[in-house]
Subunit: 427 residues, 2 copies
């Protein structure tokens, strides 16, 4: 008896899943003894189902999937925390296993979802929620569990990595790069989730929860995006021997979990510095394994569908063998979240200021007052005649002091002509 699958969401990723089932169903039977059958698909657009040859399975009412007693496993691919939440929770309550790619849902309602799965004795799998096709959740939940993980960090948003790569390699200004990314389909019409770091925040919340065995939700993550980054920042970083990446960072510290997303300078010799374009990579450090990295395409129909269907096949393998859920929630500890104010690192800060004498001295004075020691100051022209870039690189400083200094500078009359660009420097 094949495992019966219901699919909700027939867009890019859902279409990729349908294609995989049609292409490889016989291979899965022969190689792994896993027989899966797609019995129903749901979306708002029957044309998508028809385009993939499954128009006869179409419904526009997801209850026909979550409520169908014949269905063993529900794939949720519509995203977001509204209808998707209803679909996932209803399916679990009805005793169905669930596979989802929904990072926002898992990073906000993960605890509730694990609890429902546990109560129903079914599985919830979500490999595709982080890093597209890259296996990362599964290795963290299996291969690497003999380690105490000290950090998990990486490039988990392809849109911003593409934009930073273009700014770095081709010197294109932010607005042009964003327009190009939108035209190529790498960025949404409203790019907020990507360029402001929310997408990455959800992903690092999920990774940190698993790596540190302690629940981290999206609102725990301090996130800053790339809106204030310009080619001059990438060029300066390059001169300093660094690359700028939007890093999602999770550290286990003695005082708790440090979890954040922000533009970061990393040495050009680091593996992550070579991860360009829409590629993703996650870097994991454990007390036994040392440093390890998982690299691949972070988005796209094929890669995301590979991860979704990997989960579907694994859960179906368990269903076929009559095996109960093997790994549920592993957040058994309750580690505090370390406040961002406590961070100590080096900072690259670029101000756009009026081109007149005394500005540099005034800014330097504010930093000194707040105990921020400067390593270098460079003044460079801008495209405007009356404005200059004032670039500070600090020695190790406390985040709280940096913020106080920035606030004070921002409040000074006739000082900052734009929001400052802040990039943390990590070695």
């Amino acid at each position: 008896m094949p495992v019966k699958i219901g699919l909700v969401g027939t867009g890019t990723v859902g279409g990729g899943c349908i294609d995989i089932i049609q292409k490889h169903r016989e291979d899965f039977k022969r190689h792994y003894g896993i027989d899966i059958e797609l019995v129903r698909v749901c979306s708002l657009d029957p044309a998508e189902a028809e385009a993939h040859g499954v128009g006869h399975l179409f419904t526009s009412d997801f209850h026909e999937i979550t409520g169908d007693p014949e269905i063993d496993l529900v794939i949720e691919l519509i995203g977001g925390t509204g209808v998707a939440h209803a679909i996932v929770t209803e399916a679990l309550k009805n005793g169905k296993n669930v596979v989802t790619a929904n990072k926002a849902l898992m990073a906000t309602a993960g605890e509730e979802i694990f609890h429902l799965a546990d109560e129903a004795g079914v599985e919830i799998a979500f490999e595709a929620s982080v890093g597209g096709g890259i296996p990362i959740i599964d290795p963290l939940k299996h291969s690497l569990i003999s380690n105490e993980i000290s950090s998990v960090l990486g490039i988990v948003n392809g849109t911003t990595n593409y934009m930073l790569t273009r700014m770095d390699e081709d010197g294109m200004p932010y607005d042009e790069v964003l327009a190009e990314a939108q035209a190529k389909g790498f960025a949404e019409a409203d790019p907020t989730a990507d360029v402001d770091g929310f997408d990455a925040a959800a992903k690092i919340a999920i990774l940190a929860s698993i790596a540190f065995n302690s629940r981290v939700v999206m609102s725990d993550v301090h996130n800053e995006g790339i809106r204030n980054i310009q080619p001059i920042d990438l060029a300066t970083a390059r001169d300093m021997g660094y690359s700028v990446k939007l890093l999602a960072i999770g550290h286990r510290l003695p005082e708790g979990v440090d979890v954040r997303v922000h533009p970061t300078m990393i040495p050009r010799s680091h593996q992550l510095a070579h991860v360009n374009g829409v590629d993703n990579a996650i870097y994991v450090t454990g007390d036994a394994v040392g440093e390890t990295m998982f690299f691949g395409a972070g988005a796209g129909s094929g890669p995301a569908a590979s991860a979704v269907m990997g989960d579907v096949l694994e859960v179906s393998r368990h269903i076929t063998l009559g095996v109960p859920p093997i790994v549920g929630c592993t957040c058994t500890d309750e580690l505090p979240i370390v406040p961002m104010d406590n961070l100590e690192t080096r900072y690259y800060i670029r101000f756009v200021v009026p081109d007149r004498t005394g500005v540099l001295a005034a800014a330097a004075e504010v930093f000194a007052k707040h105990d921020v020691s400067l390593r270098s100051v460079v003044q460079e022209g801008t495209r405007e005649r009356d404005a200059v870039n004032l670039i500070f690189v600090t020695h190790t400083a406390r985040e709280k002091n940096i913020r106080t200094a920035l606030a004070e500078l921002g409040a000074m009359e006739d000082m900052l002509l734009a929001d400052p660009t802040v990039i943390r420097v990590e070695d």
Copy 2:
């Protein structure tokens, strides 16, 4: 009731495993509900067991482990295909689960071992046999199974990668680099297994078997090592925009499985070109996931123990839950091995020849006769007065023709002063 573990082999990796159990046993219970207890250790040297605080568990007779009815799981870490074969097969026959890091054993007797495990209804796990701590076998057996894998290739031998990196970055000649690697403990006194590519051959046999669902054994793998590589080859490669790596390569072709180990030029822009020193990385390409890479430390106490103990915990999790083996042998197809002679690629070939007129022309003539089209020829001095390096780069040519040409040149009197250096060029 804890899962009872017997460990055979208390050297570098075995010691690392003992350390992990001692350090994290309580964590494994709390996080995963897995309780493991080391009840016996076996090796030839009681001092090793004592050094790790388990002298009271010591035996020098492995039968006290394989034959102990109390033991659920045997870890085999002595390596080789002699005594290790007896330990693993006896343990399986006695109904014990087995975790091993033994690449030579799995690449030669894998079929027998899977068969025994299957008959006994127990698990055999061997993540540590390839890539040290890097999770690669588990992702291939789980996360990536929705793909048809078209290639799996990588840098899987840290010793030779260290040597090539040193030759490239510091221009050290082969003999000096080997001596240094031996002094640092990266290379054995008899370096054959590493420098001639046997270690890598065993590893790619294992990876190809899993990736292509078809048994590949070590003797199926064409292997060439790095003995003929010198700094001039790395410098020339660099000028051409390439890095030289000892690649272990598996391709799924329409006509079968192409599997080989040899020095290879890869573009410096490729992710694998940045994998230096003793690090390893495995690059997997699938029809859905596209390109993905797994990077980390390929050897060492911690990394290898991380992989071994990951397997131990996973199997123990199944034992604890009463779950039968989930994945056994997946070599359900019988794909032919493509003969090396059929390979078509580009070649970098360096000869050391007498410094006299006519040698270049004579060599070029032999290539032309065997249908090998040349892209460039460069003549460079050597340290000896009477000898020069003659470096050919070919257009795409057939392996068989290259070999015939090399044989003919080798047989010519007063022609080659040393074995030619052959590096295949892949883009």
